[in-house]
Amino acid sequence: MLAKEVKTGMHFINGDEACCEGALAAGCRFFAGYPITPATEIAEAMSRRLPELGGIYIQMEDEIASMATILGASWGGVKSMTSTSGPGFSLMMENIGLGICTETPCVVCNVQRGGPSTGLPTLVGQGDMMQARWGSHGHYEIIALSPSSPQEMFDMTILAFNLSEQYRLPVMIMADEVVGHMTERVVVPREEEIEVIDRRKPTVPPEEYNLYHADADGVAPMANCGDGYRIHVTGLTHDERGYPAMDAKSHEKMVSRLVGKIRNNKDKIIRTKNSYLDDAEVVVVSYGISARSAMQAVRDARKEGIKAGLIKLETVWPFPENLIRSLAPQVKGFLMAEINGGQMVLELERCAGGACPVGLVSNFGGAIISPGLISNAISRIRRGTA
């Protein structure tokens, strides 16, 4: 008898284990990876759980192979994922681009640690946010999520699979060491309460099928290898049939659709959790573990009568551009809290468009941001001395 795929009930587990359980609940049955701190527990949990569910776990020779393998598995018709941290994420970049170009649904979880290079294996960082956005070559759009707790590791892993199946691309979960290793209560709902989205299948007969002929939303139905449809998958610029077509016009057409399927569906993809925004004078924007410090600072500020609010980014990419643009003329300033030298703050500045000051509370990694530092910055922005 197979083991339970959805462990309905309450658990006291860490973020990495919650990620594994979320993946399994979403229907993931293939994991290829190379263990790395602080993401090792995801691979460990997968190596225990997948075989009992009839799935496949492979420990690869490196992260280049891991990424290639989950793309192949996805074309084989199985939901697949890998997990890693900074050094492995760097190695995955080329094949993430292949996944974007071939429109292959899969999930990559990066439990971030301090970088650059080997950096701080056991300590927290959020320095890979721009790498998630632009790390592979060429121009493309991406979807990346950022969980702040083990519960969100569970929920967002399901969401990541759903988005990847819906929009046909690798979706990134940009977690961090503290969220990955922290243990908290995780509530796993009943199986029938979990929304699981599967890739759209072709409805036309095989002789009429074109691999990359998109529906109105810009996403093409996907036949798996072995379904009986003609399939030609390449990282070269290709036409609707999937055949190489290396000229400017074909390239324009292909990249426009890769970019458009995300940009044109932005409103359906972007998710933020907004707190105390209605009358907020200072709005803190944050994500992942830093959003918890930010929430503490915002609540402390409110206790002192300071009108602070919080936008917690659940999707860090695409960035909630319209929300920021609409708030910018009304507020005294924005503040970004993140564990890097200032990455998402660049996007915040761009969207604020000079309509109000934008501040940054950050460190380069190794420790989370203390709420007190954010509180001080809120006061400075409010007084106009930032």
Partner: protein
Amino acid sequence: MPDKRTVHVIITGFGGQGIVMAGEILGKAATLYDTKHATMAQNYGPEARGGACSSQIIISPEEILFPYIEEPEILVCMSQEAYTKNIKTLLTEGTLIWDTDLVHTRKTDMHFKTFHIPATRFAEKLGSKMMANIVMLGFLSAVEHLVHAEALKKAIADSVPAATKEKNIQAFTAGREYGNSIVKGLLKLEQAKHQD
């Protein structure tokens, strides 16, 4: 009655003593079998095995946002190195708990609320020093009311290998009874003071 405050607990010792497991059991008891929130963060370096190791648990009636502990109210030490490394962080009015045989405290620690138990010796008598962490949890449950004892027992029962369940519950009870006797003794002492 269990505590209504947010309490920050650090349990610390060396790798192999079940320090992380003790933290996990405490957190599990609070969140799954009691009605509280708990967050456990783990501290380790690449050099962790055999070296200092600690688990940090925050227990609160409210949602916990900041997961790090800077100044614990309760510090449990199961090795000398862990004690030396962590004693500076304990709040002035905090509670210091240690394994009598493994830690030598200083006289200057006496402004803390202090409790000690030969937890490892107790565990050895019960058959395995592996259970010292559970003895310590029993002791902790008697001297500081963080979660209900029943919740802790349930958490122990589903955390330890099935074959050792009974032994571990015995270890918990032994630690708890020893703690209760000390607390009663303390109360008498306290009462005696007031009579002067």
